[in-house]
Symmetry: C2
Subunit: 491 residues, 2 copies
């Protein structure tokens, strides 16, 4: 396995020097270093044992001018004006495996990658993760509100369907679960959505684009340990995929409210409806783009495989972020034969794309090495856009495996990527603050709080009696197994 560069404790000391320069009180700096370096040290050692990592790393920059850069950008739009790509959409959609478009990265492709990544990000931002909420594991908003609430109101797409997957399948529960006895569903989790481009966006991109976005999750190592050794046949050929991913995609149970049909059946039904309507009835040019981050990237691949089998002539692309390996070589070959185009966005320092093989466990913060047993079985598919955390002057040095794996970190690096040989794009417009939504990756000079994406008072509100209570959900936001934007579309 190729050696990767991971900054270890030495750079935390550098970092600490920076801090001291900024006159942070010793007691803080000291504690920071104690905490961070101890952890990184442990992780670092474990890692270097696992991957014989080279411990040398360029000294971090002092970010002296970052503050100004950031200040200057504070009052500028976060997006470049949309350009018409109607005559080049097939290239950007990967008809030629994105050859010549990735390094250097074509500006039009960069923008589309970020667009799809932000769809995937919405599945995290809108998820109810309050384990004391009876709606834990559902989307907080009605599907027609999702994009507004996620800052994607200008995306030019409309959500047509929410997808649910079982959370009590034959593996340790890894999805969001409520601690309550009576909840919207004990068995299911909101796992993604289907959306379709509106007329204006369709004109700009040259076809009616159907998107499926799959939500990922932090996966406890137990889950990998129990599941990732088991390959399971898919289709009628030799294709095999990881059992855990497949069971999330295909599990159903009649006694549940949301999974009488599996995630697979839900999404395929919706795709059939949309393809029939736009392709068959309206004779439009239609494409399918499937995206997802981490585990969501794995589900995207399974979804693409099934879609290709069901819609032979439909142009199908997968744009995945930080996705683990999913299947064997036969699975990869079959995807190729069916013409599925796959673009894997990875970060050099991220471990998840090396899975199965290495397993990280957020709660216990340890690594397990399964490489020996699994490496040969699993294989990656498709073209790769390989990013490097160290290319961004906005990101902290020091090993932070959660932060490095975060989708927002990926989107930031895509936004700044010019080519593997050039530095971070100085005119990158995407809001840097987003990176710290749920982690601690931005350098202090930017003054962005860590893990700042949070509700006021975690959703509690002070009622007229002065008591802090959890407000009832807006009825239209209470999940329903059957809801669909019937009215918006004439299906």
């Amino acid at each position: 396995m190729k050696a990767i560069h991971l900054p270890l404790v030495t750079h935390l000391h550098h970092h600490n020097l920076d801090l001291t320069k900024n006159r942070v009180p010793k007691v803080y700096a000291y504690q920071d270093v104690v905490k961070t370096s101890k952890k990184s040290n442990r992780l670092g050692e474990k890692l270097s044992n696992l991957l014989n990592i080279q411990k040398n790393d360029p000294p971090p920059s002092t970010h002296s001018t970052l503050n100004n850069i950031h200040e200057d950008k504070a009052n500028t739009p976060t997006m470049s004006p949309k350009e018409d790509i109607s005559d080049r959409w097939r290239d950007i959609h990967g008809v030629h495996e994105w050859e010549g478009l990735l390094d250097p990265l074509h500006p039009l492709l960069r923008r589309e990658i970020v667009k799809y990544g932000e769809f995937a990000q919405a599945t995290y931002d809108a998820l109810d993760i309050d384990s004391f909420s009876e709606y834990c594991g559902s989307c907080m908003y009605n599907s027609h509100k999702l994009f507004d609430k996620s800052g994607l109101n200008k995306s030019g797409y409309k959500v047509t369907k929410y997808i649910y997957a079982m959370s009590q399948i034959d593996m340790p529960q890894w999805l969001e679960r409520s601690k309550l006895t009576y909840t919207w569903s004990k068995d299911s989790n909101w796992i993604g959505f289907v959306a379709v481009s509106d007329d204006e966006e369709s004109r700009r991109i040259g076809r009616r684009d159907i998107v499926v976005a799959w939500r990922g999750t932090v996966t406890p190592s137990e889950w990998y340990e129990n599941m990732q050794r088991k390959l399971e046949s898919i289709g009628h050929m030799d294709s095999k995929v990881e059992h855990g991913f497949l069971s999330i995609y295909t599990s159903k149970c009649d006694s549940t409210r949301y999974n009488k049909s599996s995630a697979s059946e839900q999404v395929m039904k919706e795709l059939k409806t949309l393809v029939d309507f736009y392709k068959t009835k309206s004779a439009e040019q239609v494409s399918l783009t499937i995206t997802g981050h981490s585990l969501g990237g794995a589900l995207a691949l399974l979804n693409a495989y099934e879609s290709a089998a069901n819609f032979p002539k439909l142009p199908i692309s997968v744009i995945s972020f930080a996705a683990p390996r999913v299947g064997n070589i036969a699975f990869r070959d079959e995807l190729y034969q069916m013409g599925v185009k796959i673009l894997r966005v990875t970060v050099k320092q991220d471990l998840v794309p090396r899975m199965p093989g290495i397993v990280l466990n957020e709660s216990l913060q340890k690594f397990d090495d399964l490489t020996g047993t699994l490496e040969w079985i699993y294989t990656h598919v498709g073209a790769e856009l390989k990013l490097d955390v160290r290319s961004s002057p906005y990101l902290k040095r020091g090993f932070n495996f959660i932060g490095i794996h975060m989708l927002e970190t990926y989107l930031h690096l895509v936004d700044g990527f010019v080519s593997s040989s050039s530095t971070f794009r100085s005119n990158a417009k995407r809001d840097v603050a987003l990176v710290n939504k749920a982690c601690d990756m931005l350098v202090d000079e930017l003054r962005i709080p860590t893990c700042w994406y949070q509700l006021a008072h975690k959703g509690l509100e002070c009622n007229s009696y002065g008591r802090w209570v959890r407000p009832k959900r807006d009825p239209e936001d209470i999940p329903s197994p059957t809801s669909r934007e019937e009215n918006t579309y004439g299906f």
Copy 2:
């Protein structure tokens, strides 16, 4: 030292069983126990070594009906109607050392204790702790807004002055510090305020009540280790007090903006102004009540000592929460002789009131034992209202030294306290949810998130360009060394 009961890992297992009963997924319950029990185990062992604690504890209740109780209360006021105490205020203010009023706790006294405790709580709730804010360590609000913003708008008091203390005194910095180079003040912290009862409240309580509320802090062990061994003379008699507390109270520096005068000088100047105005000019009956939590309780005692020397005939009381020992026996005796009345509210399981002697360090989560060297020097003063975490059915079993020390936990226990022999007051009205503001003390059945007292997006706001930025402070909320509610009062 009297042995205290601390629930150790065994009860965490009980707790876990409870959780499982509520069908929390194994993966959670498992991780909970691993995390919590490991920590508690370590702490528990350390503690039992330090204090030879008995490890037996009554099995925790199942809290079966709590949910309903809480639901029922959700739509009721959090305060009983205010009663006229004008004819009994001296008793309630401690003229007879609260004899016969503490066990059982007199309802009128209970209410006054909570009132003063909530003033102290406001010094925490309104503090800017964003280390990336240029106002870190200041109060977020102008003094005339403080009570509105802290839910004390019906308190019947008005803030007249903010107090600042040096944060760069000759000890490891223990106050809130900004990481920025240019800030409102590199040297000072908002440490408390002076307030005075309005006419209506003064009629109800039988006198014009001046309140000084002192803010506490989590104190790094370094600070204790360096400071708590040093006693320093105060006044001209044999009285000695802990050097660290005294230097916070008395430090000043001409080159600073906020501490050209010390906290002591600021508060005494304000007290003189108020006493002159209400007592001398208006010939009103005036009292002084000084309150504070943790370190704030120590400062309250120093402030009371100085006030008694300056205002011989003024009725002065201290109501402190979780305060450590401050001085020697001569200091205590002098306070008595000067007629200062002191009510110490303590929680049996809280370690801070045992300090100096035991030192806890939040960041490193360890205990240091200085008891041998210090026990004999320091002594507590005044009457004690002793609470027990286990008296409340709303609070988790299991040792949580931060949660047990929190002022909100204290106020909850005061609100429910009837007598040392009776159970938690079933008609206690104070909002239970407040306990979890900054800790994890409430049982799951109440469904209150942990550490929920937080700003939306940690204060970031999305501007018109779609960028997340830290909004500028309302000019009137920017701290000023000289500000005083001149207009409200005719001083």
